[in-house]
């Protein structure tokens, strides 16, 4: 598989993602510059965390209009897997590739700490190998991670099983005190209707090795490999 990690000016988790994919997962990885017009030859795209274009105006708002985004949109519409992590999630919502938006944390502060999330749907390209109810530990590091969507959007998300991750405690209980940023319905990640585009606030690349407190994040990348392999198999 060939992965692409999109590099916007101000991305700062791009090299971390490349390390996790290349050195830990043994994948081939290309950096995709924000001015590229094509993502041909790539099988999976990752939009990493950071402060693209300084997050001036609104987190992810300027990146959503970057030249590379039209190629990403085509890639997503072709049903190919796209993962947005943190700022990448914010960019995907700003680009309307995912529903909803991410607002300032409830306490209005940046927060960097480990959290737990529960897998709510195995029906996406990035959770295909994760049974529903699986609890993953990964860190968050954001100031704008409060998920919001209209009532209609939320109902549609819930009905279609497109809420992918919810913040929970270590045992998998979705409790108010386990919600680090005031996200509505404890939503930590969502998917598009086809399940090939997924965004989440926690950082799987920061939880891909035993030395880093958790290696649960690997399972998200492994899911992408599993779903791509399944797709490649002749029916």
């Amino acid at each position: 598989m060939r992965w692409g990690v999109v590099v916007f000016p101000g991305s700062n988790c791009d090299q971390d993602c490349m390390h996790a994919l290349r050195s830990v997962m043994g994948q081939s990885v290309d950096a995709v510059w924000h001015e590229e017009r094509s993502v041909a030859g790539l099988d999976v795209l990752v939009l990493p965390g950071g402060f693209s274009y300084g997050d001036y105006l609104r987190a992810g708002a300027i990146a959503a209009t970057a030249p590379v985004m039209s190629a990403i949109r085509d890639f997503a519409e072709a049903g190919r897997p796209v993962l947005g992590v943190c700022n990448g999630f914010q960019i995907l919502t700003e680009a309307r590739l995912l529903p909803g938006t991410l607002v300032r944390n409830a306490r209005l502060r940046f927060r960097c700490r480990p959290v737990w999330v529960r897998v709510e749907s195995s029906d996406t390209s990035f959770t295909a190998a994760l049974p529903e109810g699986t609890v993953l530990q990964m860190p968050i590091a954001h100031a704008e991670g409060g998920y919001r969507a209209s009532a209609d959007e939320l109902n549609a998300l819930r009905a279609a099983g497109r809420v992918v991750f919810r913040y929970c405690d270590r045992e998998g209980r979705v409790l108010a005190e386990a919600n680090p940023n005031g996200s509505v319905d404890a939503i930590a990640g969502v998917a598009n209707a086809r399940g090939n585009v997924v965004g989440l606030m926690p950082h799987p690349e920061r939880a891909s090795e035993g030395l880093l407190a958790s290696s649960d994040g690997r399972r998200i990348f492994e899911s992408a490999l599993a779903s791509l392999a399944a797709r490649a198999e002749p029916v």
Binding site: P9, G10, S23, G54, F110, R111, C112, E205, E209
Partner: protein, 756 residues
């Protein structure tokens, strides 16, 4: 030949003392013109020129076989082996942070990152050492909140993790908050960049953000006492940071350095173009011709001295072959930054700046870059703080009550509310997150090597005795590193003091430097760079003049506050040791020969209300041996946890090991009667002293630890066991402590109560 315009005259003033002005005229053989006078005013400020500290700083040891670049460069560099090296430097941003906490702190982070970048290193970690007035004071809370937000705002966005640091409060910092930030960078040992301009005809390339009118004269501002009445006008001296541009500057500069085309590089921080150009030229023994018309500007009609002295952030100055200039400029432009050739290197050692065809300044670079050095007369204060009010008898206190009060104190309490505002994980190198004795980072490029970082300071100790205090701080930093199995590689220091022109302040400064030198020599660790911040004494509102000197309230000057940043090498990062107790049934062993002292302790300041005597004797030989023992024991995995005894003494260390481990302990306090084979004694429950460690290990491991301790000549002995949900202390005479039991949950509640 064009001539200098306007010419210098005897009426032009630099803002410097008369002695400096005479020296300038002597060096130039003429009077400076107005532009030149402003350049001297900044370059010969204390902040840039180190006029009152340079001579004394020579007392610090700066060499070791690992040092690739010592003091005097943008940052010191030491080899870590496997072909890699680290650049390390700490700097203060005290004055700007007092006036504009958010931007002052943010640009402090930006500045130190660029110093490390200028060595060719990728910045991989930040540490912050902060001092404020008591946090129940509204102004201090606001300052603290703004400073933390500024560090977070800049550090998080630029993608360099803030992995550790410290925060202490004292009334002396109410009007003089301290913001010291250290940065660590990683560079291939054979690719360390230099800042010496070379090659006549080589191009001088300006790269980064455009130049504006912000921060003009910032270095000169940092070299005077703060005056509340001038807060509004001083604001123009504070630079505004832009972490987004800073991030682009890091990536573009590393790419430019990777091209192999860069002859020399320096960041434009304090003193702007003037400082970078004069220092680079002076180091190379060459001159530079700078065409100010080519400098990318943010606004029109800037005056020559504004362009020359602007401290606009996120800018670098590079020297490279003219042929390479378009290619390197292209790298910066691809990252969306300005890049213009603004001059060239000349053979004659003159820094010549032109604007609109006129020469506006023409100075020998070394005349600017080498400010005169002064050695003030030191005078020991009649009474040291520690000698003022020596308590005759300490009041009887309930030990548990005192312990809980200490755990609630901001100096001891968990700083979670602060470090969770910092991205301490970006870069995926952080193996040990903030809150432990030292931060540990893995070297992704050379596994299984790791780097440990500690920042320490303790002004109580230094107020009690500056030489002992400073030595104790260095030992504490080394002890913190030992707890994670790291051998010290290098020290960077930030020396925060009042006005050096006061003989008593200068004496404490010199004593502190000697204390650092003593301890570094004992440990065999070099000081590879740092920063001096004088004039940390807020002038009483409304009278900032020298005439008010005698009337100044001494309480408005800070305690002597040297901060030590230390980096150490971890040989194998794959199994980090913890600070907290781990396993039910493990033995708790006290290591070390220090006995601890209540003098200058947190206990005496908090419970007795004064510093009450000098701190413990640093006992450098014994302490060094104890530190080396712990480092070896951790590396050999003889212990499961290791934590050093520091602020609050054994009492706080035990409580912290329980809280961090989430498990209880039962200990019997050692009494004075035990012999040398047992635990060190006598021991004050709250006494603070060097070279004492709490470790835990399985009982069967004790003989191996004892054998290693005997080999090092360091006492050690079991004082209890790990287990249960409470800390039980059984006291034996004559420690003066009553026995008690307290649930770890209660300890944690007190420790985790800092609201920020």
């Amino acid at each position: 030949m064009r001539t200098l315009a306007p010419e210098g005259t005897a009426t032009v003033r630099t803002g410097l003392p008369a002695g400096d002005e005479h020296e300038i005229v002597r060096r130039l053989g003429r009077h400076p013109n107005m532009v030149e006078a402003r350049m001297f005013g900044v370059m010969w400020s204390e902040h840039c020129g180190y006029k009152h500290s340079r001579h004394t700083l020579r007392r610090l040891p700066s060499g070791s076989p690992r040092v690739l670049s010592g003091p005097g460069g943008n940052a010191g560099v030491v080899s870590i082996g496997a072909g890699w090296a680290v650049a390390f430097k700490m700097e203060s941003h005290n004055h700007p942070s007092a006036v504009d906490p958010y931007n002052g702190a943010a640009t402090g982070v930006g500045g130190i990152i660029r110093d490390v970048l200028a060595m060719g290193a990728r910045p991989i970690a930040l540490l912050d050492s902060l001092r404020f007035g008591p946090l129940d004071d509204r102004r201090s809370r606001q300052l603290a909140g703004g400073v933390v937000a500024g560090i977070a705002g800049y550090g998080n966005a630029i993608g360099v993790p803030t992995v550790g640091g410290e925060l202490l409060v004292d009334a002396c910092y109410r009007d003089n908050p301290l913001v010291n930030v250290a940065c660590l960078g990683l560079v291939r040992a054979d690719r360390v960049a230099t800042a010496a301009a070379q090659g006549v005809g080589n191009a001088v390339l300006y790269a980064g953000a455009r130049t504006g009118r912000d921060g003009i004269g910032g270095a000169a501002f940092a070299s005077t006492e703060l005056d509340e009445s001038r807060e509004r006008t001083d604001r123009a001296s504070v630079q505004i940071g832009d972490p987004f541009t800073g991030k682009l500057l890091i990536e573009a500069t590393l790419e430019a350095l990777e091209s192999g085309a860069i002859v020399a590089i320096q960041d434009m921080g304090a003193g702007g173009i003037t400082c970078a150009a004069s220092e680079m030229a002076a180091r190379g023994g060459v001159g530079m011709a700078i065409d100010l018309d080519r400098v990318p500007l943010r606004e029109a009609h800037m005056r020559p001295e504004e362009i020359l002295l602007s401290e606009s952030q996120e800018r670098m100055l590079l020297v490279l072959r003219s042929d390479d200039a378009p290619r390197v400029a292209g790298i910066y432009r691809r990252w969306g930054l300005s890049a213009e050739v603004i001059g060239h290197v000349t053979a004659e050692p003159r820094l010549v700046a032109t604007l609109a065809g006129q020469i506006v300044a023409d100075l020998p670079p070394d005349a600017l870059a080498d400010a005169p050095a002064y050695v003030p007369e030191p005078r020991r204060p009649r009474v040291l703080n520690g000698e003022e009010r020596r308590p005759t008898a300490r009041a009887a206190v309930d030990p548990l009550d005192a312990l809980l009060r200490m755990l609630r104190h901001p100096d001891i309490a968990s700083k979670r509310e602060i470090f969770e505002q910092y991205d301490h994980m970006v870069g995926i190198r952080t193996v040990t997150v903030p809150g432990a004795d030292a931060a540990v980072l893995r070297v992704l490029e050379a596994p299984p090597l790791g780097l440990a970082l500690a920042a320490d300071g303790n002004a109580r100790w230094c107020a009690g005795d500056p030489r002992r205090g400073a030595a104790l701080i260095v030992m504490e930093a080394a002890a913190n590193l030992a707890c994670v199995g790291a051998e010290p590689l290098a020290v960077t220091d930030c020396l925060n003091f009042g006005s050096p022109e006061r003989p008593e302040v200068f004496w404490t400064f010199r004593e502190a430097v000697d204390g650092i030198a003593d301890a570094c020599r004992s440990l065999g660790v070099p000081v590879i760079g740092g920063n001096v911040s004088f004039y940390n004494e807020a002038a009483a509102a409304g009278n900032g003049s020298a005439a008010a000197e005698g009337a100044r309230d001494p309480a408005r000057a800070i305690h002597p506050t040297p901060i030590i940043g230390m980096v150490g090498l971890v040989e194998d990062v794959s199994r980090p040791t913890r600070s907290g107790f781990l396993n039910e049934g493990d033995l708790i062993v006290l290591i070390g020969s220090g006995s601890g002292s209540l003098g200058a302790s947190l206990h005496d300041v908090l419970i007795e209300g004064n510093i009450g005597g000098p701190p413990a004797d640093p006992a450098l030989g014994d302490t060094t041996r104890a530190i080396q023992l712990v480092c070896r024991a951790v590396r050999a995995r003889l212990v499961r946890s290791a934590h050093d005894v520091s602020d609050g003494g054994l009492a706080v260390a035990l409580a912290e090991a329980c809280i961090m481990g989430g498990i209880g302990a039962s200990v019997t306090l050692p009494s004075a009667t035990q012999d040398h084979s047992g635990p060190p004694a006598p021991l004050d429950w709250f006494g603070e002293g060097p070279g004492l460690f709490l470790v835990s290990l399985p009982a069967e491991g004790l003989p191996a630890l004892e054998a290693l301790a005997a080999e090092h000549g360091v006492p050690c002995g079991a004082i209890g066991t790990v287990g249960g949900a409470s800390l039980s202390v059984l006291a034996s005479a004559p420690t003066g402590v009553d026995s008690f039991t307290v649930e770890v949950r209660v300890l944690r509640q007190a420790w985790d109560s800092l609201e920020f």
